[in-house]
Symmetry: C2
Subunit: 146 residues, 2 copies
Amino acid sequence: MDDIDRRIVGLLLDDADRTYAQLGREVALSPAAVHERVRRLRASGVVRRSTVEVDPDALGLDVLAFVLLDTEGWARDHVFAAAGADPRVEEAHSVAGNSNFLLKVRAAGPDGLEEVLRMLYQVPGVVRTRTIMVLRRGFERGVSLP
Amino acid sequence: MDDIDRRIVGLLLDDADRTYAQLGREVALSPAAVHERVRRLRASGVVRRSTVEVDPDALGLDVLAFVLLDTEGWARDHVFAAAGADPRVEEAHSVAGNSNFLLKVRAAGPDGLEEVLRMLYQVPGVVRTRTIMVLRRGFERGVSLP
DNA sequence: TGGGTCGGTGGACGACATCGACCGGAGAAT
DNA sequence: ATTCTCCGGTCGATGTCGTCCACCGACCCA
């Protein structure tokens, strides 16, 4: 994980369609050398997978909300399992503060969000939810390098 | 944007390295037909770009937090602009509830997070922040189709 | 000094993306 | 009802690119 690796990761984060020849030109290496570095970045788990960034609205996913979850007792494993099983929950974190968990939920309409909330109340230990509705998305980008 | 398009998007979300031949087999279409559909999905903005999912820890980004932002007056444009200029802010949303904005911040160590907070207080209108620190990431996946 | 290892180069090969020519079916207009 | 048109598909050709292999130089340590 040297500086060249970090530059390669940064370039791939920006656009994973770059060819090895292009990457090689940008980091002053042969295509084969870049190929080998990327292979190792993937093998070591630094690069997990390549995916595609989509417009949620185009898929009808027009509701975005963050849900704070309050629980009683140790509920982490149940919460993560239940949340992970619903594709509408994009993220789940255990957090510090007044609540125990924070989920990011994206759904097609308010009904979808409500279904997620109902599902969450089935989870043993969950006693309260507080939903922060997103009015307007400023931006959503993934990890990006400085 | 028919059902086949949705299936293609779902497959690309899962793994964008699939060849057109593979995609074609999965949706019962020729490689060329899939190629044309993907070209149009990109042109129409449904698919924005292809990127790579990385392990934040491998890049030293070990701090994740959500920051609730309280403002006075109309501060949206300033907030989004300032937040967008800092690569440590991965998301920024205008939200309903007790606070006006919700940011997702990922940094290398607590110092990076504090720098982001200091930067935010420079933004005209910002009067308070509340930071929700993530103790443990359950999962972070992007949009996924049911 | 000399062998071993690691990471790089260059070239060859086959797979794949990409394009063009052709084709068939659904609608619209006559 | 028939013909025209257009959209979206298949098929096949071509050039680029990913991928592998053999070789090489630098560096480390005995």
